[in-house]
């Protein structure tokens, strides 16, 4: 494959963004009525559907705090080359367990003992940064399901190529195998929840990546926060509507 220029002389990336610009994020909550919480998140061309069921009864063992189960799968049509990504695929298992660990620290598990929360992540289209998209989608799905959490987790990826640090990688940039960091932070305290680094990076580059990824996370958080607000206001408005109707009758 011929080596494309990832950053043009004007400073634009392959999809026309500036290095410190995230892709367009749209998210919709509550799209699956039968799930407790669901979220359809699009970061550019990466589309992820996260569903949360819980807290549910735990059949097998007794535990003093809640248990989280996570499953990650990529649809067969997700990437351009059709790959049958089964659930027991190594990549999927690793993603699932790392997302599970992230959320184990954030959910207030002692508030629902002897219960379990099931997280299902389905990647409908993969164009880079699937891990961040998955984490963001799960956060919003948790909010939709009303499961108590310490804080919201936001995630963004950052990479270093051609002497520039860029934010929110797409597929073309991810396969270059340069230093890439996926960072997840707690939204209000800005502390790190999870970090995942691919390839090796010197210490300065690593610090740089963290700083840029944090900025990306905060930008992402703005978008997510506003869509959660919008959804909640709609809910309240519809409830008000019903209340007034009831009082009239």
């Amino acid at each position: 494959m011929p080596r494309e220029e990832l950053i043009s002389p004007d400073g634009l990336r392959t999809d026309g963004r500036r290095p410190l610009e995230i892709r367009k994020v749209t998210c919709r909550m509550g799209i699956l009525p039968r799930a407790d919480g669901s979220c359809h998140l699009e970061m550019g061309n990466t589309i992820v559907l996260a569903t949360v069921y819980g807290p549910r009864e735990l059949s097998s063992r007794q535990s003093s705090c809640g248990i989280i189960r996570c499953e990650y799968s990529m649809a067969s049509f997700a990437s351009t080359d059709r790959r049958r990504g089964k659930r027991s695929d190594r990549n999927s298992v690793e993603m699932a367990s790392s997302i599970k660990k992230t959320f184990e620290n954030v959910l207030l598990t002692d508030l629902f003992p002897k219960s379990r929360v099931d997280i299902f992540i389905q990647v409908l289209q993969a164009d880079g940064s699937e891990r961040s998209a998955a984490i963001n989608a799960v956060t919003i799905a948790m909010v939709n399901a009303g499961i108590p959490m310490k804080d919201l987790i936001v995630s963004c990826s950052a990479g270093y190529m051609e002497n520039t640090t860029v934010m929110d990688l797409n597929h073309v940039e991810m396969i270059t195998r340069g230093p890439q960091l996926t960072l997840a932070i707690y939204a209000s305290t800005e502390r790190m929840a999870t970090a995942h680094l691919e390839s090796k990076a010197s210490f300065e580059i690593f610090e740089n990546l963290i700083a840029i990824a944090k900025k990306g996370c905060l930008q992402m958080f703005d978008v997510m926060h506003s869509s959660i607000e919008r959804y909640s206001l709609n809910l309240i408005a519809s409830r008000d509507h019903i209340a007034t109707f009831g009082s009239r009758a």
């Binding site: 699956l32 009525p33 039968r34 799930a35 669901s38 061309n45 559907l49 996260a50 569903t51 069921y53 499953e71 799968s73 649809a75 067969s76 049509f77 997700a78 990437s79 351009t80 059709r82 049958r84 659930r87 099931d118 299902f120 389905q122 409908l124 289209q125």
Partner: protein
């Protein structure tokens, strides 16, 4: 499985005896269908269909493959049905495999019987190369009657699939295929012959079309029939004790409803709206 209490079940049976259903539909009425095509830019054809609460996403990928065995088909169809874990935690493990292989088999059998793609334009090199259509079906939400949703979504996805034009270069007995990279040099498929499934549940003594998930749980029998535009039956899948006399009555209804449904689907795709 979806749990229904005895009281709910009794209530459902009584309501159906009167000729209406719990959500106010008639016995042979479909739930509202909403349809979107072209939702997956990375696939050659795709569609997302919502039938009541059931949601299905279908992606079609087009490849050129070697001909297997002696089939003279121009096209090989490969169906894969997967139920997303988000749809239901019951569809995991071995159960899921047998359920999805049944559906795959039903679709394959119906499409093969209907001989959908015997178009001359689709033949590459008979005996050596043929088109391989890989249809991936993902069930996002189970709300009853997945068979119908899947078959409708597959038909619409295939009708909007773009097949790239291929130039066949023959040199010294061996063939080389040059696939046109130009995204505009594509043909759409003709799927008038493609069948669609109509599913009936036997509840009490009545057949109801397009069962919701409560109706499916209370049903003591099920009949899925694949019909094409002419009203010919391409595949039958049945379950439970079915009355033979009722069947003949049903078949006229199947023929009518099938035609109406297929017409509506084609119209919607042409007009580019959702019904």
């Amino acid at each position: 499985m979806y749990a229904v209490s005895k009281a709910e079940k009794a209530y459902l049976l009584d309501t159906i005896e009167t000729g209406t259903r719990l959500d106010g539909r008639q016995l042979f009425e479909y739930r509202p269908i909403s349809l979107q095509v072209g939702v997956l830019p990375s696939a050659s054809g795709s569609s997302r269909l919502r039938l009541g609460e059931t949601e299905v996403l279908v992606g079609v990928k087009v490849e050129v493959g070697d001909v297997v065995e002696s089939s003279n088909d121009n096209v090989q169809l490969l169906f894969t049905v997967e139920c997303s874990g988000s749809a239901s935690a019951d569809f995991l493990g071995r159960e899921a495999e047998s359920w999805s292989s049944e559906l795959q088999n039903a679709l394959e059998s119906a499409y093969r019987a209907a001989n959908v793609f015997d178009d001359e334009r689709l033949s590459l090199v008979p005996g050596k190369f043929c088109w391989l259509f890989k249809v991936d079906i993902l069930v996002l939400d189970t709300g009853g009657n997945m068979m119908d949703a899947i078959s409708m979504a597959t038909r619409t996805a295939l009708s909007t699939t773009l097949v790239p034009r291929v130039h066949i270069v023959q040199s010294e007995g061996s063939f080389e295929l040059e696939i046109d990279d130009n995204p505009d040099a594509c043909d759409t498929l003709k799927v008038e012959k493609a069948p669609t499934f109509l599913t009936f549940s036997l509840i009490g003594n009545h057949f109801v079309l397009d069962p919701s998930i409560q109706e499916e749980t209370c049903a003591r029998g099920k009949l899925s029939v694949a019909v094409d535009a002419n009203g010919d039956i391409c595949h039958v899948y049945s379950f439970g004790l079915l009355d033979a006399v009722e069947l003949s009555r049903l078949l006229t209804i199947i023929k009518k409803t099938g035609k109406v449904l297929l017409n509506r689907l084609d119209e919607c795709v042409k007009n580019g709206e959702s019904s």
